[in-house]
Amino acid sequence: MGGLNATLNIGVRALDAAQAALDATSNNIANVNTPGYTEEVAQLSEDPLTQSGGEITGGGVTMDGIQSVQDELLDLQIQQQTSSQSSANTESASLQQIQTYFTTTGTDIATALTTFSNSLDALSASPISTATQQSVLSAGQDLAQAFNTTANGLTSAQSSANGLVTTSVAQINELTQQIAQLNGQIEQLTNSGQNDSSTEDQLNASVQQLSGLTGISVTQSKSGDTIMTGNGTPLVMGDQSFTLQTTTGSDGFQQVLDSNGSNITSTLNGGQLGGAIQMRDQTIPGMLSQLNSLASQFSSSFNAAQTQGLDSNGNPGLNFFAVPTGSAEAAAGITVSISDPSLLAISSVGTGSSNNNVANLSAVLSQALPSNSVSSTGGNPSAPLATSTPLTNGSVTSIADASTGATFTFTAGASSTIASLQAAIASAVTAGTLSNGTGLSFNAAGHVVISTTTTGDTLQVSSSDTVLGQFNSTSGKTPANAYASLVFNIGNAASNASTQYTALGKSLLQLTNQQSSVSGVNIDDETANLIRFQTAYQAGARIVSTIQQLNTVALDMGSSQSY
């Protein structure tokens, strides 16, 4: 019953994962009234308030004073949630586009894997038939194509996000200029004792728009708003605006610079810009990495099964798949490298031939991919890393991968010393060209050993060396499992982004309704009201928990079918 149980297991595991994520979130709600939380909020009231002159009085504050601060508070929350919603919207739109590549369309990876698997099974029943052999080649080509298309879908979404970075920055610059101008106008009016509410409204609207583009923090003073990004990069100060610039980074993507030319890309959060950067630099690369790992390991394993057998001509099997160097492009570039059906390695090596090697080929699909592997950069994924690969200070003597990680051993070259090799490797670790999982050890016998356990680690000792290889880990899943996990991750991410977008929309509506509501209620009444609301929210949180616990009902009931 392996197939059925495995299928159900992945469903249950996936549901468990979702459950865990939801548990974490519901804890946050439950903590709303914990002391720590209150303390944080209490800080709000402790922040110093300055006046342009005049004294600070205590007690007997009228509602007007409270009202204006409430307005400010509402404004700020609206800005913050507008940023979050805009970011969620950007991510949601991108993920909706991405997930179409992962639905069953006939050209998707799941369909292609199925057909490829079936073609191998059919081959085992008729191993010498040219027709069944050709079917394997065609199915292999379709699978490679499916990988290519899916990877291209991800990179094109990345490209779209990149374009959005450029347009967002342009829009931000326009707005900050406007805001600076309005600040100037308002200050002039104020100094001459006038009060133009329409200019103020314009200012509010512009700041609101800006918050939709990027996360901001707004401070108000008599000379106008000071607006900074969440990380403190100034955007507007009074009547002065600061332009952001973009420049092409080493990865070909647009980097955002502040007015001094410093790269602030990774500090930007929220808004359309933050969402685009998140997708482009974090979310999509994560998905690409999973996809590339799968393509790389799958082709590597399949090629290994090919090369361990004999083809119909009696020759040792050749590689079936070819992936480009480095495996960072594995999915986009994977192709089938044989076109003659007779090159399929259907026979086992050994006395008396048979078609036993077909079982080995099929097994690649039904067994776990090796949990750790080191893929080469030589364009031949089934070949181990070239151990004689020269470095500036020595060479790679051996590579081993085991369940705990990969180990690379280096030897100093003829014209260098072990000390210089050690120094080069140590500085590579510092510079981040080698991220080191378990540490560096310097063997007095003349070798340097590096171990890594981090998936995606690429090995490059100095900038003049080529990238030697990449460490991959798929936690021992079958190709189907690994792909199904990716589908779940993408679906989940898309669902979450959409949820946040919707929820923030409703929350914003609540805030803007509060803003426009007429009040005249005194503080005590308003406080009592708020407390009633908070009680209601807590009751709601308990309902949320209860409903989450009903989550597994479908698997319990829905899938227990009789024969």
């Binding site: 709600i29 009228t62 004073g65 400010e72 008599k222 669902s495 929820a503 989450q548």
Partner: protein, 142 residues
């Protein structure tokens, strides 16, 4: 232990589906109430949500017990569409619940900020008048 025939079970399954759909509608009503700051609407909805979740839990327990007492191959098949209806009803409910959870989170946060602000009203700031009203300097860490 319940002794339930297949018809009975199908009926209860349908009742489960109805209740789940009603609960989704109730969650949406609650979120609408929150958006409009309608406290009494919200409180009514919450009461209804309590009733519905209790009913859901009870139906589930009954159906589960039924499944537990019979080996899978002897259980009569649920009517054709019901199993996938269960899965989609569940997915719909969980999705609505996730939005509900997020909305509650944001609203609680806002309410707590407001409460704290009002609570500090006896403290130390002076109202300004006219145009100055908006330009008191203060900062807010969110």
């Amino acid at each position: 232990m319940m002794d339930m025939g297949a018809t009975d079970r199908d009926q209860r399954t349908r009742a489960y589906l109805e209740t789940a759909h009603s609960l989704v509608q109730e969650l949406e009503r609650a979120m609408q109430a929150i958006s409009c700051n309608g406290l009494s609407d919200l409180e009514e909805s919450l009461a209804e949500q309590e009733v519905l979740t209790v009913r859901l839990r009870s139906l589930r327990r009954q159906l589960w017990v039924f499944n537990d007492t019979q080996p899978a191959c002897l259980r009569p098949a649920l009517e054709r569409e019901l199993p996938s209806d269960l899965v989609s009803a569940d997915a719909e409910l969980q999705a609505a619940n996730r939005v509900y959870e997020a909305v509650l989170g944001h609203s609680s946060h806002s309410a707590a900020l407001m409460t704290s602000l009002l609570g500090s009203a006896n403290g130390q700031f002076q109202e300004a008048s006219g145009a100055r009203l908006k330009y008191q300097t203060w900062s807010c860490r969110m």
